[in-house]
Symmetry: C2
Subunit: 203 residues, 2 copies
Amino acid sequence: MKKIQVVVAEDQAMVLGALAALLEIEPDIAVCARAANGREALAMVGKSKPDVLVTDIEMPEMTGLTLAAEVKERYPQTRVMILTTFARPGYLRRALDAGAKGYLLKDRPSAELADAVRRVHQGLRVVDPDLALEAWDSGPDPLTERERQILWRAGEGKSSGEIAEELHLSEGTVRNYLSEAMSKLGASNRVEAARLARSRGWL
Amino acid sequence: MKKIQVVVAEDQAMVLGALAALLEIEPDIAVCARAANGREALAMVGKSKPDVLVTDIEMPEMTGLTLAAEVKERYPQTRVMILTTFARPGYLRRALDAGAKGYLLKDRPSAELADAVRRVHQGLRVVDPDLALEAWDSGPDPLTERERQILWRAGEGKSSGEIAEELHLSEGTVRNYLSEAMSKLGASNRVEAARLARSRGWL
DNA sequence: ATTCGCCCATGACAAACGTCATATCCCTTT
DNA sequence: AAAGGGATATGACGTTTGTCATGGGCGAAT
């Protein structure tokens, strides 16, 4: 009987080790490689051709979401399961668009992990039902690419002038985009807008 | 031979389970209880009187830092080890002030966890050396309590007017505090100031 | 071929923000 | 007793931000 071969990608080394330990407990699952970032994970998947890739989203080098898309493209036999802290509708949507088969939250009981891996391995989808609902009624990302870029920088504390210079725009244009983003998000200033967008996974 | 009794506190259930699995691998360590927040952890420590408490910092109900202080006060025989994502000088300082014996980062290799637990159990201190240095030269928290309160709210996107109302102050006073905080932190606006303070663990 | 959405810009105005000087009150340290 | 620091306030000033109307260019979809 062959075990389900799993690659785990997670940037916090301690958590990576712990998750691997958790999976190794299961008699029918084997962790064949570990990766500390997206780039590394892609290489590992190429080398080990695992059945399942369990990956975090926010990682250096390459996001779990881009990683999912790459894996889907280059190694379609490997199914991707996202394992993340963030219950953000936008992340879920992007994950599914990128071809991920599962989306599991880190605040679910640890007993669910092995189960989710098995299901994804069998070709089933695993998606947190509450989150799926939330994703549904929070609607799609209303921001344009430009608005996202600008809002992101504004959230970091940059002034309109700095942002304008950085993106080679006029300062008025930057203010226009921010105003537009704020109205789309129902925020009363740039900071609140950035926080809102972040919390929905749109930044 | 009795095992080292450990309580683990961590709000992300999946990570909690994984860390416990990691510790359970060790032949000389036993996880005698798990907690999903600070309040629960305090109760568990009271009930099990463990040798070591391994705890996260940012948790609902009660912060790992307050928890550390409470445990030090009420169950001094239990040594506290902080296990956190955040390499923030201010957190480290507060942790040590609260009587924690160890401060370990989640991006250290998982192999270090058991070792750190053993050392702390033996009465040794375990502190990330890089972080200790950073804590040293980033100096102490320069903010006053009021500045902290106000900066925190400003970082959430609230306007001076809203903050003033919330804290029963005049709007001008709020602007004064923010101006003062910005100058202390070397920031050029409230958002940058809030980000800086956060990154140092002062918020 | 026209419409629509996105990109980018300008100008003008009101509101919010950041700075500074100055002042009072209170508490602790010297 | 004096000095210092924190909390609070006001007024005044210049700068930044948020809003709105209005415009042009471009590419994709109808």
